[in-house]
Amino acid sequence: MVDPAPAIVLRPKTPTNFSVDAAILQELGERLIGQPEIALAELIKNSYDADASTCTVTFRGDSIEVSDDGHGMSTEEFHRYWMRVGTTHKRDDGRSRELSRPLTGSKGVGRLAVQFLATGMWIETIAKENQKAELIALADWTKIVRGTELSSVEILWDERTAQTRFPGDSKHGTRIILTQLKDTWDAPRIQRLGEYLWTLRSPFRRRGTTKGPRSATNFDIEVIAPEIEDAQSAFDKTLDTLFNNWSARIRGRVDNGRKQGRASISVEFKPGYPEGAKAEKFHHSFTLPVKALGEHDIKPSCVNQVAFEILVFKNAGKQPGGVRVDDVRKYLQEHGNVGIYDAGFRLPYYGMANDWLDVAVDQAARLSISHLLPKELAVPDRYMLDLPDGRRLFGAVDINTAEERVAAEKRKASLGEYLELQAGRDRLHDNLAFLQLKRFVRFSLDFYATRYRLRASRRVEEERDKERASQKQVRALRVLEANQDKIPKGVYATVKREVEDALKTSEKEEESLDRRAALLAPLASAGMAALALNHEFARERRLLKRVVAALKSFAQELGEPKLASLAADLADANRRIESMQSLFSPLLSEQDKTAKEKLRVKPVVQGTIDSIKALMPGVDFDLRSVPADLRFPIGSLAEWNALLQNIFTNAWDAMLSADSHRIRISGGEGPRRREWLRISDSGIGLAVSLEESEKLFNPFERMSRVKSDQESIALGGQGLGLSIVRMIANRRNSEVRFVSPENGYSTTIEISWRG
């Protein structure tokens, strides 16, 4: 092993220490926090972490006051934790001291935040454990001078008899007053503050009439800013957006249920839920109580006055308003499900921790049909699979147990036949009235599930025609799977195998279709170019014809043979243009583009040869072996012409380097009335083996091996020719493939069809 510093000898002297410049606090604040709203959010998070129920943030003049009813700090805690940079008094298990909230504040950043936000700070804090004493502290950051030791920075503090009151008149908590603010606070900044903190806030506090008991989820932040317009609504904006992002809203109500008052429910769907569906609202009214299927003898309604609203969220995909879907999920995970409010007081028992509507139970059992909905509301599909679980719901059921009791007593109802709070006041007695309330609310959820499925089914029907075969088959598989328990095992396995097999085939065909669709753009351009070119050709031909006639006339008048020769050359040029023009002629006639009969092969081939031969000089076409009565399947002249043109131009390219330039076209009928047309050329053969030749039909797959010096005389070369050939052939129920070359030829392509 090599000694890293063999020559250095350490001499014993007095050890030295790192010293820390006082300005580090400022530097750290700027680097770690960056923005004032983040700094303030960190301070507020400290309140949440201190198990506060309420945190009040007051903006007034040049100060911000953050006050909470958390557990506060003892003098010891203040010195040990708050005054020590880089540490935290927060517990190692990441949970708050009393309510076991997940801790949110960043390590020790709160202290830096105060310096970042303001020049002065005043703290008042009373620890919950010792509510007689109050610690007060004062800091003036202006006295921190760069170059002095951090440890020399003085924070003035004292203890006094507890006198401060915190939010909700709490006797413990912490109040931090920041003075001489470094930034200006306005509504947009407060809105951004809200964006950082919304996930900590309890939704129940927004609707409940009381604050409710201290709990892990019961935390809210009040913003008081008389000098900033709309401060609270700016702060609430993200939470408001979240609650406006519902996809469906279920509302229910009954008044005078005990007097046979009609209960009504409505389900309102926003557009796009499910995807592609329009906004829609469904109503249903009935008399309570809700009967379970098969139930006959039941007592009259034991609930008198109930109103509820349940929001259904789509906690997947992009959320409107820029709220992160993960945050929505976490938020609903914590605050979701349907709660019950007794005279505005939320009964803590009914929340995410308690599946009081039995939704999770029924989902686990894969319940497919509601036990509560009458048959006329049911839809054929397994609609209950669309029942939303608590993590997608946020709802509240408003009751008033005191009034229920009065109404019950008027009707001389027995004990247990009205909604009644249990002694612990966190839940209702599990009696008949509660059962009826539960069924009423659950009925509305089941109703929602049927309407959702109805909308989804309608969309499927609307989309069915546009759907690809594979999509239909995937859906068929889903239906099959969903009904697996109703189908004999053997049948299920066989049908599944068959559908999967069909799916594979469809996917393959669709893939091929997609590849062919890629051809359309270049073909469309080519089509437009062809029409334009045809127009130009016609004009040029007319001009040439007149010039030729004039030249001939001059040549005759002047007896000038050179002029006559020039006229003959121009006449030849005109003929070549005419021949090229004929390439497009099938595109110009509507009838030639319309497939209505089985055209005779021989004239079609002959016509194509006539139109293309000017581009393929010196090629010997032999179509003597095409029977006169052989007919293509139903198709248009334009299609067959395009198919043959492409095959011929491929043959031309293949023959560029060959000694012989022959194309033979033959036709006939094979076994099982299979008719065929083969085109053979004497070119250099395929670039791949016959077995691999299938791939040549893929778009942009080039089959020719044209030498660079011959590129200018090659035809095509875009790699689209054979794809077009196959596209046309398939469209006309024909097959096209390369086969073993006919005798004397190097390549043979065959088109075959059922005669």
Binding site: K545, R575, S585, P586, S589, P603, V604, G607
Partner: protein, 431 residues
């Protein structure tokens, strides 16, 4: 002959004028007087025409216009430079009104189908045209267009359906006079169609006569026939929207209280044009009821007697001003003349004969079956109006068979398929 040539572009107008002159020169016949109409005068003339249309429909007297008193009006289809409010003007939009509301009998439209030289469908050219003939400017220089003689053809191109434009005006005037005389008489009776001919009329041919007459269409065959036989020229006018597309206009002109002589003249002009097109396409064109000389020869070469093996003789008949004189005199006198369509000369350029009795004629059948008969294997080419060898020696181009869309058993025809000519739709060659 006096031709009014209309085009909104003067360059094109000059070109067409030159082409017409070339056409007449190539046929070695006197060049007609060509009156050119373009620019503001064309615009004014069209406006006056439509004012006259309105006046005529209101029963008012009309003033003479520039479109009157020619033998033929030739109009370029693209009149988009004529600044008249409303839809872009075309020859097609004018043709029907020119036919009815000008005294010029014949209307030709130019360049409606610039990519077509020969239409293979109904052997009448563009059957949808409202004009009497729809051709292209370059066809004007073809002498055969004017004379019908293949000898005057530009590089052999002489469609059999071209109606010899030089005499078309005279023929049309005769037709108009005939229709005016028989306006309220049944068409088929006036034309002296025998019963066997009426029975052989194709559905298309019947449809033209019964037209929109719903009672005739909904009845069974017998009643349809009865109605068919009774349809008058005036009723044809009322039903056919080819020239005057607005039914109310037609009804007004045909009404009892119309300005009779003037209205009837308009009706006669329109109906003459309609019946002419019907005869050319549905009656003669199909060669099922009436057959003309070339198609008769192709079916009964025995008419050529001992000359039936000689191609020259076949073509000589077609070129002769008196074709019957070159045929077997006995057969002509005994078989053809008794079955001739007496009024044929008013409606077609060559003699025509009733085919059903000739087809059934035992004597002709017997002669055709005679073993000693020498007949050349020749076919009539509709694009050159000449017979050629069906299977020529290898070096010569062979005629191509095509299938028209005409009804009946004679829809398969031949074309020489000349280089440089555009035949549409080409799928008819492979049908």
């Amino acid at each position: 002959m006096r031709i009014l040539l209309c085009d909104d572009e003067s360059v094109q107008l000059e070109r067409a004028t030159t082409q017409i002159r070339e056409g007449f020169n190539s046929a070695a016949v006197a060049v007609p007087e060509i009156v050119q109409l373009t620019g503001e005068p064309l615009k004014n003339a069209i406006e006056t025409l439509f004012k006259n249309v309105t006046k005529s429909l209101n029963g008012d007297s009309v003033e003479k216009i520039i479109f009157d008193d020619h033998d033929m009006i030739i109009v370029d289809n693209n009149l988009s430079h004529v600044e008249i409010t409303g839809a872009r003007l075309t020859a097609e939009a004018l043709a029907g009104y020119l036919r009815g509301f000008s005294s010029t009998p014949y209307v030709v439209s130019l360049n409606k189908n610039p990519d077509t030289d020969f239409d293979l469908r109904f052997l009448i050219g563009d059957y949808q045209s409202r004009a009497d003939l729809a051709i292209n400017t370059e066809h004007l220089s073809n002498g055969a267009l004017w004379t019908g003689a293949s000898a005057h053809a530009d590089n052999a191109f002489c469609p059999s359906y071209w109606p010899r434009l030089r005499t078309a005006a005279t023929r049309r005037k005769d037709q108009v006079a005939f229709v005016r005389e028989n306006l309220d008489r049944p068409v088929l009776v006036s034309l002296k169609f025998p019963e066997f001919a009426i029975e052989r009329l194709s559905r298309h041919a019947q449809g033209f006569l019964v037209g929109a007459d719903s009672s005739a269409q909904t009845n069974d065959g017998t009643e349809l026939d009865a109605s068919l036989r009774e349809v008058t020229f005036r009723q044809v006018f009322e039903k056919s929207g080819r020239s005057l597309p607005i039914k109310k206009d037609r009804a007004g002109l045909s009404a009892e209280n119309a300005n009779k002589p003037h209205a009837d003249e308009i009706i006669a002009r329109v109906v003459a044009g309609e019946v002419d097109s019907w005869m050319r396409r549905d009656v003669i064109g199909a060669q099922e009821v009436l057959v003309d000389i070339p198609h008769l020869l192709a079916r009964l070469p025995i008419l050529l007697g001992n000359q039936a093996a000689h191609l020259d003789r076949w073509n000589a008949v077609l070129e002769s001003p008196d074709p019957l004189s070159l045929l077997n005199a006995k057969l002509v006198n005994e078989q053809l003349i008794p079955n001739g369509f007496q009024l044929g000369s008013k409606w077609w350029t060559s003699p025509t004969f009733w085919w059903p009795p000739l087809e059934q004629n035992e004597e002709l059948r017997r002669l055709m079956a005679a073993p000693e008969l020498q007949i050349g294997d020749f076919v009539f080419c509709e694009d050159t109006s000449r017979f050629i060898v069906r299977v020529p020696e290898a070096t010569l181009p062979a005629p191509q068979e095509f299938v028209t869309e005409l009804e009946g058993g004679w829809s398969r025809r031949y074309a020489a398929v000349l280089q440089g000519r555009r035949y549409t739709p080409r799928s008819r060659f492979a049908a």
